[in-house]
Point group: C2
Chain length 430, copies 2
């Protein structure tokens, strides 16, 4: 039986310290072990891009349905053109969608279009560029060809009944093409989660609230919204819970109606942080509430009967980094994906980066190319309040907790932030 990190900590060791400071890798494992795929639903082909197949897809015919020409040209008998410069009689004109009406005899050929069925008697196609018109009824074939030349065999692309796409396949444009090819107008894919986003804190000003110089605009709700959208999911924004126990409780109760609840702020150790006790009072089993990372130390995760709950830091940069490391893999997992983590690249560090603490650090970087070598340049001030550094960043440079700093020129691992590319294993060597 596999070792469950969370249960081990919660059930066996009851180790408050461990829960209070999991490594990034242990926290990721804890989150992923708590996930399970959502059910399947039927979705029309126009809306399946990016989703994951929940069923095997079979071919509904041989494709092509008969031997067809791979080129515009002439269907011939290869024996007739063994000597270059053979002149053949054109007995028919076959285009894609036509069925041939005649059988080729010796010295005969048919004009044929790409994708059109090869007539009986023919065993090869000569492309039009290798022929010359003699008159309306005759053509000169200027090359010798082997049998099967430029013929696509019946069933070459797919054979009736065979599985052409397996359950678990992520639906790319090429997969959409394949689904259309087998006329799958509607397919079973894993359902998307209903995701709620809640910000907390009296200091926050909502997007539609009047300007108050003493408040801080709620950036978290929208940055998280966009991170969820980037995974193809449309979240609901619940707004801002005030630092008032009853209001917070009502908002969290609303959030616990969803599959996934993201709460930002209120998970730190201060006396005003009600989020963790309120969640626990509402039946959420907290799995951890601190991770030894920077930014993002106060990062919590818990499980309720209906809902996976992520407590993200109040600070926008920390919240976004924690989303990338924990929420994004979780959302990928429950929607059926097998590649859960951001793609990584190896890059050369452009300047020294200090590392004086014992937490895994995520440094926002820009990437550029020097010849074939990728170069990672930190985006300037890495203060966790500097959201601009996250807006500019193309990747997160991962500094392992044990590092004593990295010198300019050394090789580093960078998680790519843009794009929807993911890989099977978490990269970065935490």
């Amino acid at each position: 039986m596999r070792v469950l990190v969370c249960d081990q900590i919660v059930g066996d060791k009851k180790d408050e310290d461990a829960m209070d400071g999991l490594t990034v890798a242990a926290a990721q494992q804890c989150v992923i072990e708590a996930m399970k795929k959502l059910g399947a639903e039927a979705v029309p082909l126009s809306q399946v891009l990016g989703r994951v197949l929940a069923e095997d897809i079979r071919a509904n015919r041989d494709q092509p349905p008969y031997d067809v020409s791979a080129m515009d040209g002439f269907a011939i008998r290869s024996a007739d053109v063994a000597n270059a410069s053979a002149v053949l009689e054109v007995i028919e004109d076959i285009k894609a969608g036509d069925m041939p009406r005649k059988m080729l005899g010796v010295g005969q050929c048919a004009r044929i279009m790409t994708g059109a069925p090869v007539p009986q008697g023919a065993d090869a196609v000569v492309r039009v560029e290798d022929t010359a018109v003699v008159d309306d009824a005759q053509v000169r074939i200027q090359v010798a060809v082997r049998p099967r030349n430029d013929i696509r065999d019946r069933g070459e692309s797919m054979r009736n009944g065979e599985v052409v796409l397996n359950a678990g396949t992520e639906i790319t444009p090429g997969v959409v093409g394949m689904l259309a090819m087998v006329k799958a107008a509607e397919v079973q894919v894993y359902r998307l989660p209903r995701v709620a986003i809640l910000s907390t804190g009296d200091e926050l000003e909502g997007l539609d609230d009047p300007f108050d110089a003493n408040k801080i605009p709620d950036a978290n709700s929208y940055a998280l919204m966009a991170q969820v959208q980037a995974l193809g999911i449309t979240p609901d924004l619940l707004g801002i819970a005030r630092d008032e126990p009853e209001h917070l409780k009502q908002m969290l109760q609303r959030g616990l109606q969803y599959d996934v609840l993201l709460v930002s702020g209120g998970t730190s150790v201060g006396v005003h942080d009600y989020v963790r006790p309120t969640l626990e009072a509402l039946g959420v089993q907290m799995k951890f509430w601190r991770v030894t990372m920077k930014p993002g130390h106060p990062m919590a995760f818990g499980v309720a009967p209906l809902t996976w709950v992520f407590g993200l830091p109040g600070n926008p940069v920390s919240s976004m980094v924690c989303f990338e490391e924990f929420v994004s893999p979780a959302l990928r997992c429950i929607t059926g994906h097998s590649k859960l983590f951001r793609s990584t690249v190896t890059a050369k560090l452009a300047r020294d980066v200090k590392h004086k603490h014992s937490r895994t650090e995520f440094v926002r970087v820009l990437l550029s190319k020097e010849g074939d070598v990728l170069v990672a340049m930190p985006t300037g001030d890495q203060g966790s309040g500097i959201l601009r550094s996250m807006a500019m960043a193309e990747g997160l440079l991962v500094i392992p907790s044990s590092s004593k700093g990295i010198a300019a020129g050394e090789q580093v691992t960078v998680q790519l932030l843009s794009g929807t590319e993911f890989q099977a294993e978490a990269g970065g060597g935490y």
Copy 2:
């Protein structure tokens, strides 16, 4: 004045051969030169992810609006804690969103939360972990700190009125966070094009048509639909134009009401191909109709008064490759992006790839990692009818036209197919 490839060919050289066989690079240049950005429109923050800003965005306040604590802890006078183990009087409790009511005197401190304003008289913050409670009204500070310790300066993140995001910025989740931070509930972004997709050919069976073993399902319309969707644009599918001049003309006329028309099939040299002459009769100025590439030789591009027209090969793999090389950069360009082309990676080729012709070849490959080295493995049969090879592919290995083949172990350039990552220049060394 810059050299315009298309005009040079059409206007000066009148070189049918050149139009009939542009290199990939020349054809890309021709397409991009014919593009211009669409206009701007106001879009709410919930729908701007992936779009491009058409306006500079300015900060609407200092952020933070005053000096704030970077930690949960105690605001102190640094001079008071020069000796470790100072005991200070707690005169106030300041949380985020509160304004301090008192000024610190000698030997006094205030309990303070992350993000809360630093009171007058204080010049540093000591985090709670470095303190010990003495009683309700007193705390022991266990470390000496320097002035400004754990204080975030007013305006550190942004200063009122400064440009925080430039026009031309692609809107990532971090940018959405920044926009929320300056309370940009609605922003000016470049408009998305109206895109029409039309398939041609009597051999095609529509997705909702009854099964006919002698026909070929129309995969192109849906693969192209998904490729357009992957760029954040919802296209209209016009259906299938039959090989009948009047029907084709009507369908093309409908398509010419759009910003971009993608026609697949019917651009090859066969006698049944009416698409090019019909487009020309409808006023489309054809810029080229062949590109020296494989797959994808019959690839056409033209310009009408309202519409950019792409004539894509009828074969689904060729059509998808041509979309990647020509249509995708064009759609990126008109929607305001500066990074138009697929990201490329350098990989080691897993097995020999032959190259016997003089066209640029795009080989579908899978990518895997051997340690830090990316390995590119062709996806098996590269026949242009094998759509499965495109559905499986993670990238396109670019073989330059001059190549005599590439041996296993050599370094190759691969354009990444998945993801929404793009780079400024076309990679691949065509």
